[in-house]
């Protein structure tokens, strides 16, 4: 029996966008998080931080508009919004590590029930791997959201009791948003906040290695 439909990557981003409030300073990592800027709720302004030294990034540059001195942390030409600023990389990470950002959203390979995050290296992959800013961001974020698929392509759970992949940070994740669920990491373990349309808590649990707590009725993921 094939699985029920899951959220698309875009829908995961759309759901994550609803976690951002007006005036928030936000860093978006590689992968799904990078799609979030396209789904901001109407009427709110969010200031995007890029760890190469930009606050107030705007949309991606259109063809012909690219300036390669103005790229984001993914090397993609971007634009600015009014009120943007530039600073050096030490100050950029003073912002991430020092808890100045309101929200950081990273991609993930695995998240543990304690909120440990693994997102920089796949075991057995060749090469030394790429850390980039993810360790500083995960250590310092006031509110760290991880956006990822709930399971690997082979169906293995990515929300696990203990990460088997090399760690990015320990006990750092606050919320996990996947194609199946919105899950909060609490001191007492993982709490299922929302489930994908058509998925029962039990069905989400079946796709999850770590134990998910359910407190009352679990609403459908609301894309806003």
């Amino acid at each position: 029996m094939p699985d029920k439909p899951r959220l698309s990557r875009e829908q995961i981003a759309q759901r994550a966008a609803r976690e951002l409030s007006d005036g928030a300073y936000v860093n978006l990592g590689w992968g799904i998080p990078n799609l979030i800027a396209d789904y901001l709720p109407k009427g709110i302004t969010v200031y995007f931080h890029s760890e190469n030294g930009i606050l107030g990034m705007g949309r991606r540059a259109k063809p012909g508009e690219e300036d390669y001195d103005l790229v984001d942390a993914m090397k993609v030409p971007v634009t600015l919004i009014p009120g943007a600023s530039f600073f050096n990389q030490a100050d950029a990470h003073l912002m991430t590590r020092g808890g100045h950002l309101d929200v950081a959203v990273l991609g993930g390979f695995q998240v543990s029930e304690k909120g440990d995050l693994a997102n920089w290296k796949i075991p057995g992959s060749k090469g030394i791997g790429n850390i980039g800013g993810a360790m500083d961001i995960s250590a310092g974020a006031k509110n760290l959201i991880v956006c990822m698929e709930h399971n690997t392509k082979d169906g293995a759970p990515k929300i696990v009791k203990q990460c088997s992949y090399p760690l990015t940070g320990i006990e750092c994740v606050n919320t996990i948003i996947t194609d199946l669920a919105v899950i909060d990491v609490t001191k007492n373990g993982l709490v299922l906040r929302e489930a994908a349309p058509g998925w029962s808590p039990e069905e989400v649990q079946a796709k999850t290695e770590a134990k998910l707590q359910v407190r009352g009725r679990v609403p459908e993921i609301n894309l806003g």
């Binding site: 007006d22 009120g83 530039f86 912002m95 590590r97 020092g98």
Partner: protein, 225 residues
């Protein structure tokens, strides 16, 4: 857009509680948030911990807070020869003081801002400043462990703020202000001028808006000597 602009000095400091830990910018007569200090004093705040390079010039700058007995503890590098009111209270034991080397004072603030838990420095080794601090040898050098210094509020002075809170400073009035802005939970800035968003070139912003929580326009109060 979140509103950071306050229409009055008094409103900008209204919620600072007694006992708060507050940083005050300024050095040598330049870059002091004198109008905010007056408002804070006027409000009758008590028992604060003040973190400031100096302790006022007679009644000027932080002096008024000492004159009125509003400071319980101060962290300073150079209380200063004209900090009469501080000196009186200190002599009577009404104010305690931690004396910190000036660069270490900044560096401890920056460590707090940057989410670091401490750093090793050779500054102060073998002096009174090292008393009670962990000492060790790294790479053959004696050094002491200094801890981050955070504040609940920073009161700072800038030249211009745009409506988002991006700041520029005039000449040497910059001094401690940008560092304190980063090291406090809530940063309140008094500025000569509030300019529209986009008026400050992104490359010329000295304090990015992320570090600024309240902006109030104020002019004309300065203690020059």
């Amino acid at each position: 857009m979140k509103q950071k602009i306050f229409s009055s000095l008094d409103a900008a400091v209204a919620d600072i509680p007694d006992g708060a830990r507050i940083m005050f910018g300024g050095f040598g007569g330049a870059g002091f948030p004198n109008n905010l200090i007056q408002a804070l004093s006027r409000k009758g705040i008590k028992e604060i911990t003040a973190i400031s390079n100096n302790c006022g010039t007679r009644e000027g700058e932080l002096g008024i807070m000492f004159k009125n007995g509003q400071v319980r503890h101060v962290v300073a590098a150079f209380p200063g020869p004209h900090s009469n009111y501080f000196q009186e209270r200190y002599a009577k034991g009404e104010v305690t003081c931690e004396l910190v080397p000036q660069g270490i004072l900044c560096e401890r603030m920056r460590a707090a801002a940057a989410g670091l838990l401490g750093f090793y420095t050779t500054v102060g080794v073998g002096t009174e400043v090292a008393n009670g601090k962990e000492e060790r040898v790294i790479d053959g050098k004696r050094c002491i462990l200094e801890k981050p210094m955070h504040a609940d509020f920073a009161l700072i002075k800038a030249e211009k703020a745009d409506e988002l809170g991006n700041l520029t400073y005039r000449l040497a009035a910059r001094n401690f202000n940008p560092i304190m802005a980063m090291a406090a939970s809530t940063t309140i800035v008094e500025v000569d001028e509030i300019v529209p968003v986009g008026s400050i070139e992104p490359e010329n912003v000295i304090t990015p808006a992320i570090f600024v929580h309240r902006i109030v326009q104020a002019k004309g109060l300065r203690y020059a000597g």
